[in-house]
Amino acid sequence: MRSTFRHGVHPPDSKALTAAVPLRRMPYAAEVVLPLRQHAGKPARPVVRVGDRVQRGDVLAEADGFVSSPVHASAAGVVKAIGLWPHPDGTLSDAIRIAVDPFNPQIPRPRMVPDWNGLTPPEVVKAVQDAGVVGLGGAAFPTHVKLAPPKDIHLESLIVNGAECEPYLTTDHRTMVEYPERVHFGVRIMMRALGVKRAVIGVERNKPDAIERLRATLPPDLDVIILPLTVKYPQGAEKMLIHAVTGREVPSGKLPMNVGVVVQNVGSIATIAEVFETGLPLVERIVTVSGPGVRRPSNLIIPVGTKVRDILEFCGGVSADATEVVLGGPMMGTAQPNLDVPVTKGTTGVIVLTRRDTPRFETLPCIRCGSCLEACPVFLNPSMLGLHAQAGRYEEMESMHLADCMLCGACSYVCPSAIPLSQMFALSKTALKKARSKVVA
């Protein structure tokens, strides 16, 4: 175990704002908005109609196929509308709006998720899908899909991602400090479902209290290693984490299961445990509200679908010099044009940045300093890719492994000429996809 990967960058982690702030529950807002697409894969299919009265935890939309995930009511109330609404990814997307009933005690129906004991692995997979659990680390890949690998795959171990390498974010940190038993319980369920005997929880060294709490609460019968990792971005990227833990490289274009491992975010693991413990589907998540532009930086347990505006007001509003409101971490998150956008299952943070954090540098020509090559965790040549992107030579970029770029932003972060490399690569990927679909059509 080498506990890190090659290359990467060191942005200031800025986690001190919220690292020691205990989790708090945010009260229900007047309205919650639940997009049908809160996960990677096919959007969910609505099963309610406008005017329907729903209880907390009721199914609003069901999974459309295997790589899909249902959406549940995060608050009791009345379905107000079903239609387009701002989505955290910057688009307008179909969503179900619920007017929250202010007099409802918000007590869920009893045990909608079965007791895990006695369930066969396929039944666990089904229960996890029905509970709407997706990866809570940001990408929101449906968790149950990872729990059902093809027959010819031999799995050796489960890797739990507690790296939390994005600056500012402390949701996984607080989960590990406050609910370590829940993490271990989730690991137990996952190991049973996957049929693996070993697990490794990777945690960056800047969270010593989390490492200590996880070790102190580890059940003796569980073969789990808590592995401290070097503090470096993007340590929490799946392929980087696998390399840090096993020394293996996931082959280009392949999945972690091809090297015998499954990676789950520590927040997702804790959610699986919580879902089986309480019997309530995924209707709330932990969100870090932080950044120099927030009056009261907090770690909050928030009903999914709560609007960013309500969250910021709850945290005391924003400072006068705030410039950007980012959903997710500041390295890969999306700046929001509209504060009525809701928090979804994949939203890890609401980060408010000020002018001091987001200076606008003039973009200068590439001076071929090579900083981006030494930053890229997958050993691409962003400098040359950038030149190709500017000239629109997308096929050249493809032959230089553009597909392996995960848009982590390390190259843009270090570029002294402030060339928006990762933005150019995102656009190039889209352009290639478009060109491909045209060929097919």
Partner: protein, 340 residues
């Protein structure tokens, strides 16, 4: 402030940016050249400062006149001017230095399209031009240690006039080449020998380079490869026959250290890949020794770097990094390893 009145800005991720910018790198490099310039002032007198000022003025004048708007502010033209000045002798006529600086920027950089586009190191191209145009003036080396207030009559020569005679001294490399006499190691290292302004204070330059490498503003592989290869090659030759100078002389004489630390590492004209940097540096080291010992000139750093500059695109192509999760090295169409 209430969220009702906030003015939101949109930008693509990442929303953070490291504070290192191209102008900051350039101005830091320039700042580390101050001790080198001061060493030149100490050894050669005010004349040295005037030569550096003249070449820098030439470079800035042309960048300001023909360069893109505000490109003077990025600091790269000033570096070119100062570095060019450091390759010149102390008694060099100022008007020639000015022309050299202007040529370096005009034909070394702007003609290719400005910052980041040039193939050859502009300062060295400027020096190559001066060597071709004024072969006598550029090989007239005044004696060192005449006091720091020294200015040279030849500094003020009128354009196109024969410079006044200067009391000259041979450089260590010249003595090695033409008179077959060596120079003691210590004077070479501290710089009390004849030569160009920046050729003499090897230890000062190494210290400044180490600082830049620590800041991450300089690819340490290049100077290590240049100096290491030159030293190894020289040692091998010296062991074969004591006729050839040893490694200490090879490294500390002439402009090798200045070239290795400040010129071969020019980001624009050196390889971007880490492996390419090693190949490039080793190529410079080998060429320097070859030119010094078997070439017609006493010094070869300038040509060694310029020749290797020409190979950089090939080196870059041949040393593309192995992408994570792939095994075989994928060959780029038409690419081949450049072996110097």
């Amino acid at each position: 402030m209430s969220t009702q009145t906030i003015r939101l800005e949109l930008a693509a991720s990442p929303h953070l940016k490291s504070p290192d910018t191209t102008p900051r790198i350039m101005w830091t490099v320039l700042a580390t050249l101050v001790p080198v310039v001061l060493a030149a002032l100490y050894f050669f007198g005010l004349g040295a400062l005037l030569v550096i000022a003249a070449s820098t003025a030439g470079a800035l004048a042309l960048e300001g006149w023909l360069g893109k708007a505000r490109s003077v502010r990025d600091g790269s033209a000033a570096i070119t001017g100062v570095l060019l000045g450091l390759t010149l002798p102390a008694g060099f006529p100022l008007w020639m230095a000015f022309i050299g600086g202007a040529f370096a920027i005009g034909f070394g950089k702007l003609i290719f399209g400005g910052l980041g586009q040039n193939v050859f190191n502009p300062a060295l191209l400027g020096r190559a031009f001066l060597q071709a145009a004024f072969p006598t003036a550029i090989t007239t080396w005044p004696k060192v240690a005449q006091g720091w207030t020294t200015v040279y009559a030849s500094n003020f020569a009128w354009p196109f006039m024969h410079p006044t005679d200067t009391i000259t001294a041979a450089t260590p490399l010249g003595m090695m080449k033409f008179e077959h006499t060596g120079t003691a190691a210590w004077p070479l290292m501290v710089g009390s020998t004849g030569g160009s302004l920046g050729e003499t204070a090897g230890l000062v330059i190494l210290l400044c380079g180490a600082y830049l490498a620590w800041k991450g503003y300089l690819n340490w592989r290049i100077p290590v490869a240049v100096l290491g290869t030159a030293a190894l090659f020289a040692t091998a030759l010296h062991l074969a026959s004591p006729r050839y100078p040893d490694a200490v002389f090879m490294v500390f004489s002439g402009g090798l250290i200045l070239g290795a630390v400040y010129m071969a590492t020019d980001m624009v004209t050196s390889p971007v890949t880490p492996r390419g940097a090693w190949i490039f540096g080793a190529g410079v080291g080998v060429l320097v020794v070859l030119i010094r010992i078997w070439g017609g000139l006493p010094e070869g750093v300038m040509y060694a770097i310029l020749i290797m500059n020409a190979f950089v695109p090939f080196i870059n192509r041949g040393t593309q990094p192995r992408v994570f999760g792939t095994t075989r090295k994928k060959r780029v169409r038409g690419g081949k390893e450049a072996t110097p």
